[in-house]
Amino acid sequence: MNLVAERIVCAYGERTVLHDFNLVAEPGTVTALLGPNGAGKSTALRALSRLLRPRAGKVTLGGEDVWRLPRRSFGRQVAFVPQSEAIAWPMTVEQVVLLGRVPHRGWLLPYSAEDRAALRTALRQVDLEDFQGRDLDSLSGGERRRALLARALAQDARVLLLDEPGAHLDLRHQVELFDLLARLARERRAAVVLSLHDLNLASLYADRAVLLNEGRIVAQGPTQEVLTPGLLRETFGIAVETVPHPRCGVAMILPVSPHLGET
């Protein structure tokens, strides 16, 4: 089921932060939203996840306007992992992840065996099986991010929207996370849309990329066609060069600066 943004315009108060944004998130693909700080990546994700109502244009899921869908029905189909996670309250990993079952179970009924199974699967996927009973605030930054991702996985949604999922993760857990997201796209036909700053991770894992700058789309398409020195320079305002990854051949992006010297 496609999640589609059609020429949406988003604003906070008087300030328009996203102009004419288009996107088609197809099952089985990973789409990366790229761009400098303030480019509109998070805003686009908030609009896609039905948290921010666009001023113009519309977001549709399977052809239906998402604002016409019942909240919980949307929650069963689209999961969102926000960037900030100021959980200043003692909650266990189990408790947080089970909340991901709410779109299925509702706000009153006790969690079922099916919910517990989803909890275990989600924890296994993020490598946190032994953390079920731990308090969230006793975890490291990376473990916490994975627990919050497990919450979204337990939601069992076909569309997964993530705002900077790789932030605060060490290299190994970044790679494992993106492996997992790519696997969810391939094997479970999930549509994954995420924002990130690491262009190399985008190059390695995203099927499609959207380059944003100051609320406008600079380019979008297959990742390797978007991550070119010219477009990146236009977007980020610095010179870059690309070299092929020695193993898989995708473009690795390297910044160029006069301070770095030459060999």
């Binding site: 908030r46 909240r71 959980i87 309250w89 909340l99 706000w107 939601q155």
Partner: protein, 325 residues
């Protein structure tokens, strides 16, 4: 904690509360031997001792239990809603509104003090909610807290002004403000308890949304929660509980702040478990505080809120030390 262990914990706490209630029945200025309490209560026929026990002490004990549970439950909900460990049942104006209602009732001799206090409490919180939500997008926790502080201060000064201008009633008003159960009767219990009960049941039904709100508005909303609507429902239920407690017992501090913290230490952060444990703690705390208020300086009575603050303050500091340790 497994479901079974939690059930045992609840039962155990309930038994402790029942014991404390029974003990509290034996405390007072009339010298009634503890061993005979039960036989007096069950023996037929009127007697002075039976009247003291049945018409004075029993409603008082039950009301303390009920108010303690109510304040603790509302405190738990507000702490969860505002994600702020300093929140208590009075944080968005419930107590100042009740004080104004009670003061007006006393000054105008309306003879409907609990009712006026209840309305005043609801009115103040309603005002805070309107002011806090006037920025658009519904009332955010922070704007509610700020509006609550402002309204509490303004209403509090109004109460002080009224007290100064009518100094012949100063004592009566001051006495009410300090809170207590010395005037508790079956009648007060009759309208206080059901309101507190309704509010607490509503809060308990809202415990999963309250859990979800702790993940932040965006996540809660993406799970299908109508954040604005549920936040309103939680404030409403907590306010009914608080207003009913305050209307029948005056302003009793610290119970609603300390009990949730103590409960969180053993029950964790899941609100469906935290709420009942917190209520039992609150009931226990206030039962003991009231017994102390009656017994320590007998026949003189100490206002119960002085006891709760004197005991609750240090206890709170102890909890903070434990938390940071």
């Amino acid at each position: 904690m497994s479901r079974r262990r939690f059930a045992i914990l609840l039962l155990g706490l309930g038994a402790v509360v029942a014991l404390a209630a029974a003990f509290s029945l034996t405390v007072g200025s009339a010298d009634i031997p503890a061993g005979r309490t039960l036989s007096i209560l069950t023996s037929p026929g009127p007697s002075l001792e039976r009247t003291i026990l049945f018409d004075l002490r029993l409603p008082r004990v039950l009301l303390a239990l009920c108010v303690g549970a109510g304040l603790a439950g509302a405190g738990t909900a507000y702490q969860g809603l505002f994600l702020n460990p300093l929140a208590d049942p009075f944080v968005i104006g419930a107590s100042s509104g009740a004080a104004l209602g009670a003061t007006v009732s006393i000054l105008l001799d309306l003879g409907a003090l609990p009712f006026a206090a209840f309305l005043g409490s609801l009115g103040a919180v309603g005002l805070v909610y309107l002011l806090g939500g006037s920025g658009g997008g519904g009332a955010s926790p922070l704007s509610l807290l700020l509006a609550g502080a402002a309204v509490s201060t303004i209403v509090g000064s109004l109460v002080s002004l009224l007290m100064i201008l009518n100094d012949q009633s100063l004592g009566v008003i001051f006495n009410w403000l300090l809170g207590g159960f010395s005037t508790a009767t079956w009648r007060e219990l009759g309208y206080g308890a059901p309101m507190v009960g309704v509010g607490l049941v509503l809060l308990w039904l809202l415990s999963r949304p309250l859990d979800a709100l702790a993940l932040g508005d965006d996540t809660a909303s993406s799970l299908g929660l109508s954040v604005v609507g549920f936040r309103f429902a939680i404030v409403l239920a907590a306010t009914i509980t608080t207003a009913a407690a305050v209307a029948t017992a005056g302003i009793i501090g610290f119970v609603g702040l300390v009990a949730p913290h103590a409960a969180r230490l053993i029950a964790g952060g899941r609100n469906s478990r935290l709420l009942p444990v917190s209520c039992l703690f609150g009931a226990l705390l206030l039962l003991l505080a009231d017994a102390a208020a009656r017994g320590l300086a007998s026949p003189q009575e100490i206002p119960v809120s002085i006891v709760t603050s004197l005991v609750g303050g240090p206890f709170f500091l102890y909890l903070l030390r434990r938390r940071s340790a």
